[in-house]
Structure formats: structure tokens, C-alpha cells
Symmetry: C2
Subunit: 452 residues, 2 copies
């Protein structure tokens, strides 16, 4: 009868039950943390009219878009959560209050070339704060502080949020008379870490036609490193050369000050002049986040300040600041690096009840009682040998089993076995609930991510 | 600059922030309840290879499917969560433990004719228990008991889960020598409530060629109503005429008995011989759920027992039982009927902190302290008039505001205003947290759904 080979498309993540539970835990931490900062959840369609989705022009993304006809409609799957947000805010402008803070965790689609660790369907987890006309600079410090809180709540410690300001870069390039070429220069400078200063100089002078002095000035500028204070101080040496640069420096100084107030330690946060973010629409603070022990992974969380969220849809100036976690890729990387905490319970249930008599009613009653205490109970009613039942609990990693036989039912008790320790006690249902709750609290005390 | 009219496709639900929060609450209840019964969450891709998705043949659904090419691939968006489950179980058969209990809440796609209350992208919330070779009958009682628990936790009271058994129907039609026509007969009988007995008789005799006796026998059978006990007793009168019917009657009797053990009250549960479920693949217990005050809505939650989940993908007998809530439609109907509880907090934050001095550091510290207590805080830092700030809190329905001026900072206090009662107190941060928590607990005590 079976005729079709079951398969999942390459580039589409489909997790087994245990890792799926870990993924759900990550998402739960994200939802909870974002909520603590006053962000409201949004959910927009995965399909949009193609002309709406591509209003801005898709650039490099356009080739990757899943676009198709249905009836007379030209449709496309969203490739990020920012364009749908722009559409949403423009469409519902009159019904929203600004600053509008939303988070969205949702799947997006890009038909990239299939390769290990690259996904065609993946979750992004975005937060954005949208102002109406204006938006205070403090928001540009709060956003990375939320990311700090999110990652530390997940259990990540060895990460660094790198911050820069596009006004500083644009102002600096303007001071060299290189405004026109600034895009190309930024893309070249972006490769510094990968290809080194020498090769960057060659590209700057030979390909982009800069003078040797201009190239040197840029490399000197990019070589400014040190503590945040040192970098800001070095930047003060550039003050007065360009108004935009001065403004950016003021902003970066303010953001740095507030980040400390938000409790982000210096070790998790660095002013880094090499961060530019490719997209043109960033106009102020920009962010990237790297895992210090895994620089090869690149940024796991990026974003920045923009001046016009929805200019293609509405004649309103809607400045904003946002950041996005590439959740599916991050989860994949964490798994590859063995950084997902296996000690946490990933079983579908906390306890497996094994009825030892034919009448299931007492077992059902006990299950109901435990569930009322918030304990996740599975009733095992299949006609199997005892050994098979225990092996089921074992394979799934269910932490407790409860045996309910004639003796226990007569005495209004049940026998609870801690399957990892092998200890068994016969207690009342209420005591069983307390015992299991305590054990679970211990078992699930750790964070989702562990660093090795 | 704005050139494209922002719009959301018709048939795609896109909620404003407040209703979205209500939707999230509903989903949270579903996730939590399903988890209590030992179901593990799954997430499968929205896109599958078209031949995999259509292995079974799509029947009436096939026309509605979103199907498209990307490169050389023939792709389709999933139209339910059952086919992806079948694929998942077949693909990962060796890595799963059976019975395999999973829940999945995900979007599915059907290009239906657009009309009010019909959606092309909608959430289904499914639970299924899959056995390997066999599956105990108690699962067929547990599934509706979970639905009972889910709906009552949501706050719905006036609903009824209607249960029947396909073996009884198939056995009964066989006893009349009508096995071949049983599909057509069931589809006709399904219209009883809508068109009445007389018209059904006409279709049965004239269109389907039944004798008058056969039609009468069927209508007599379908007329069996009363309490569950009465219906089961009346069915006993048919015992001995057909083996399959007898088996179905045994199963229905057992399911009814266990449903009581699971604590489902008689008023929320009815044996109803008119329930057939169109799909051929149901083979035992079948369910539909109706809102008693809104029969016009039809079933809000349906499912049943099947013998072969994945026969198109794998040569294993995988019987199962499952049920599905059409979540988007249910949510839409609840909104239309004014049954969503507006008293619950739908604001993005529990408290809005209004700094009254220029330095934001003290406000940031207070926000951090309150967030550590689990309170959702928004810091309002925009340069606006006091009235505009209060109007922001008011529009969003944020329940509390905190004012932090020089006096409060000097005294290590803050002024907390209950915005619905208008009461204001000046207290320490810890007392503010306690006060807000208590107020929120009261505000959010109700259920998501209220019956009028």
C-alpha cells in the first residue's frame, strides 16, 4: 500500500520530540523576556500580495523569494518580519498607539542554496519600537539590553553585543569626501576580519579608486579598539570634522551610558567601529551579536535604528529601532556545539501511570488529581508486558512512574518510582504530587543553554 | 514616496494588538492543557513536496491547495496537520516511542472561496495518539475528556461533545445490505437537521434507490435519542444483527463509561447516532463538538479513531485517535459573539513608568527591579506633555502608571497610580511590585471566554 517515500524538504528544520521541547523552551524564554519589556505579540500572515511584499524592491533577497500565482493573485511568502511590520503599521496606523512596541516570532522563507546549517524556512524572533515622527535615543540602548537579558536568561554568557552608529561612519566618510562610495567602502571594510588590512587596502585603492591617504585614514579609523571608554575617547579626536559624525558620537556616548544603567556589563557589550550592517535603511545605532567562542558563526542577533519604517506604504515618518534573532539557525548552532542542556526534562510527561488492574477508573482518578496540581501525566493503558511499559518510560526519559495495584487502591495510596535514582515510595496522591513537583523543580532548575 | 497601498489578503486573519493578546491566551491554555495529558509539541514545515502532501489524493481539498514550483521542485502548503503527522511518523518511525502523543498548533492553508468567517490561512490545534499495531480503547475516551478540559479551562460551558462509532453505522448499514451505499447514505443522513426527515427519505429512495423499508429503518435508527444510557439501551435492541455493529456498541459503551471516569459531565457529552464524519478513514469512535447556543456555527472541534495513519508512506499499521480545533475560526466566532473576556489585561505592559526628571537612570533601575518580579514594564521616555503620556497609557489600557520625580528618588520611593480606580500611593519599589501583582491577579482572574 505504501507508495510514496516520506521525506521532508531539504533546508526545512523538522525536529524530533526531545529537541522540539528544547526549541519550545527557547521560544518561551523569548516570549517572556520580550513581554517583560512591554512588547505586544503580533502575528501576521505568512503569505502577502507580492507587490506589497516587494514594494521596496527585494534586492539580493528577491531571487530567493517564494512567489506564486493562486487564481488571479500574485502572492509571495514573507522573507523577513520587517516588511510585514511596515505594512501592518501603515495599514493600522490610526488604530495603534506610538511608540508601538511589538515582538513577533514567526517563520520566514528564503529559497537559498541548500547547505548545512542554512534554512529555507526559519524562525525569526524580532522586537521593534516604532515612533510616530520621533523616537527617543534611550530606546536604542534598551533594545540591546533586552537582548542581553534574553541571552543570559537562556544561559548564554560568552557573547558580546557590538554597537556602532551609522552617523559616525557616514560622517567620517563624508569628511573624506567619500559619501558616494561609502556603501562600497563599508562592504569592503566588513571583510577586515576575514581577509586582513592589506587586502582591504588593495580593494579600496585599486577597485574603488581611493587614494593611499584615504585608505590609510579608513584603516586607522577602523583600527580604533580598546575598552568602550577608550574607543569613545579616541573618537573625540575626530570631533569637529563633520556635523553628522559629531551627532553620531553624541548618540553612541549616550547609548553607552544608558546601557550601563540597564545593567549590561562591559564584557557583554563593545563599541565596535567595524560594525556597519549592510542595509541602507539603518541610520543610527547598529548592532551585531557574536558568540565569543564561535566567531565563525557570525552574528546571531542584529539590528539597528532606522528613520523610515514604512515610507513605501504611508506618508508618515515612522522612525524605529529593532533587532532580530535568527532563531532556527541559532538553535541549530547550539545543537551542533552541544550547548543545549540535556539535563532538563524533554519527556512528553513528568510521570507515567501504570495501572496494574483491569479497571482503569482508579488510575484515571489519580491522573486527574495530579494534573490538577500541574503535573503532566500520561496514563499507560496499552496491553503490554511490564518490561515493555518500563522501557517506554525509559526511552522517553519520563522521570517518574506510578504503579497502581490492588494494594495501593485499597490503602488509597500509590507507589511512586524515581526512574533515574531507582527509589520507590508508597504514598498518598497528595504526597506523590509534592514529591514529583520537588524532583521536577530540581531537574528543571538549569538554563536551556549550557556553556562547556 | 508612498507608492503601494498597504493591504492584507482577504481570508487572512491579522489581529490588532489587543485581540492578538486574547488569541495568545487561548493558545497558551491549549498548549498547557495538552501538555498536562502527556502530549509533546511538534512543529513541521508549512511547505512539503507536493507528491508527499497529496499521496492520498486531496479529494475536495485538492482544488484549494496552494501549490507552486520553486526551481525544479513541485511544492505545496500544508492544508491540514494530519498529513504532515503521517509523514512525520513514517519518516521517524524508528526514532519514536509508541503510543506517540503529539500536539501541534500551526497554520494551514486552503484557497477557499473568500467569505466572511472563512479563512485561507488558519490555525489548527490538533492532538493525536498513534499506536504501533494496536491502541487501547481508553484513548478514545481520553481524547474527548481533554477537549472537555480545554474548553472548560477557556471558560466555555455551554458546549456538547457528540460521540458516535463508525462501526455501529457501518454494521447497521451492512445489516440492511447497504454497505456499498453507506457513504452516500451517511452524507444524506448528515443533512437531517438541516432539511428534515421527509426530504431525506426522498433522497434515500429516489436518488439512492433504497426501498421504503430501508429508508424507514434508517430514519428509525437515527431517531434514537435521549440520555446516553437510553441511547445505548435502545442500541442493545440491535445487538446480534451484525458483528461489526456489536463490536461498535461494545466500544461506545466502554468509551461512555470511561468518559464519566475522566470527569466529563453528562451535559457536555452525548451519544449521537447522526454523527458520521465524512472522511472515510475514520473507523471507530467519531467526535463533533457544538456550542449549544450557536448550532449555526457547526462543529468547533472534530475527530475520531482511524486504523491506518500512514499507509501511503510506510508498511506499518499505525492506528490512532485524534481531534482538531479550528482555532482561527473558533476565535473569530467568539469575537463575533462577544464572548472574549475584555476584563483581562490586553495591554502590552502592566505598568508604565513616567520619569519626571531628565536623567533616566533611576527610572531604568526601577524598571529592572519590577521586571525581576515578573511585572511587565514599559519605560516612557519620549519628550511629550504629561497629558499625552497619560493618554498613551489610557488608550492601551495599561493598568498602572508610576511617577518618578525628584522627591520620590530622594526618598527611595515611587508613586503608583491605579489608572482604573484613580487611586495613587507613594511606596517603595518592593511594595509597588506587591501592590501591582495583587491588582493584576484580580484583573486577570477570569477565564478567556465568557458566556453572556
Amino acid at each position: 500500500m505504501s507508495t510514496i517515500k516520506p521525506r521532508t524538504l531539504s533546508g526545512f528544520m523538522e525536529l524530533l520530540p526531545a529537541p522540539q521541547v528544547q526549541m519550545e523552551r527557547v521560544m518561551e524564554v523569548l516570549r517572556k523576556t520580550y513581554s517583560l519589556y512591554g512588547f505586544t505579540p503580533l502575528d501576521t500572515p505568512a503569505i502577502e500580495a507580492a507587490d506589497v511584499l516587494l514594494a521596496k524592491g527585494g534586492g539580493e533577497t528577491e531571487k530567493q523569494i517564494y512567489r506564486f500565482q493562486k487564481g488571479d493573485s500574485d502572492l509571495a511568502l514573507r522573507f523577513d518580519l520587517t516588511v510585514p511590520l511596515a505594512k501592518y503599521v501603515a495599514l493600522h496606523y490610526g488604530e495603534l498607539s506610538f511608540p508601538f512596541r511589538r515582538y513577533q516570532i514567526g517563520k520566514v522563507y528564503r529559497g537559498e542554496r541548500a547547505q548545512r546549517g542554512r534554512f529555507r524556512e526559519f524562525y525569526q524572533a524580532d522586537i521593534d519600537i516604532i515612533g510616530d515622527g520621533k523616537l527617543d535615543i534611550v530606546n536604542e540602548a534598551e533594545i540591546p539590553s533586552i537582548i542581553y537579558k534574553t541571552f543570559t536568561t537562556l544561559g548564554l554568557k560568552r557573547f558580546q553585543i557590538r554597537v556602532n552608529n551609522r552617523k559616525i561612519l557616514n560622517g567620517f566618510y563624508a569628511s573624506l569626501g567619500l559619501t558616494e562610495k561609502s556603501g562600497d567602502i563599508m562592504r569592503t571594510v566588513d571583510k577586515l576580519e576575514k581577509i586582513g588590512a592589506e587586502k582591504v587596502t588593495v580593494i579600496l585603492t585599486e577597485d574603488l579608486g581611493l587614494t593611499a591617504e584615504q585608505a590609510k585614514a579608513i584603516l586607522d579609523f577602523m583600527a580604533i579598539t580598546g575598552s568602550n571608554e577608550q574607543v569613545l575617547q579616541a573618537l573625540e579626536g575626530y570631533r569637529g570634522k563633520n556635523e553628522l559624525l559629531d551627532l553620531g558620537l553624541d548618540e553612541l556616548t549616550t547609548v553607552t551610558k544608558y546601557l550601563a544603567a540597564f545593567g549590561v556589563p562591559e564584557e557583554n557589550f563593545a563599541v565596535d567601529l567595524t560594525i556597519a550592517r549592510g542595509l541602507d535603511y539603518y541610520t543610527g545605532t547598529v548592532y551585531e551579536t557574536c558568540m565569543l567562542d564561535h566567531p565563525e558563526i557570525g552574528s546571531i542577533c542584529s539590528g539597528g535604528r532606522y528613520d523610515n519604517l514604512a515610507e513605501y506604504y504611508i506618508d508618515k515618518q515612522l522612525p524605529g529601532v529593532g533587532i532580530s534573532i535568527g532563531l532556527t539557525r541559532l538553535f541549530y548552532v547550539l545543537g551542533e556545539q552541544n550547548m543545549l542542556n540535556d539535563a532538563l526534562n524533554t519527556a512528553p510527561a513528568d510521570v507515567l501511570i501504570l495501572p496494574m488492574i483491569e479497571d482503569l477508573a482508579p488510575a484515571i482518578t489519580l491522573a486527574t488529581e495530579l494534573r490538577a496540581q500541574g503535573i503532566r501525566v500520561q496514563l499507560y493503558a496499552e496491553q503490554k508486558k511490564f518490561k515493555a511499559k518500563m522501557s517506554y518510560a525509559d526511552k522517553l526519559g519520563i522521570p517518574y512512574a506510578i504503579f497502581l495495584g490492588e494494594d495501593e487502591i485499597a490503602a488509597s495510596t500509590c507507589s511512586v518510582k524515581d526512574l533515574s535514582k531507582g527509589e520507590q515510595v508508597t504514598v498518598t496522591a497528595a504526597d506523590a504530587a509534592a514529591l514529583i513537583e520537588k524532583g521536577l523543580a530540581e531537574k528543571n532548575a538549569g538554563t536551556v543553554i549550557v556553556e562547556n
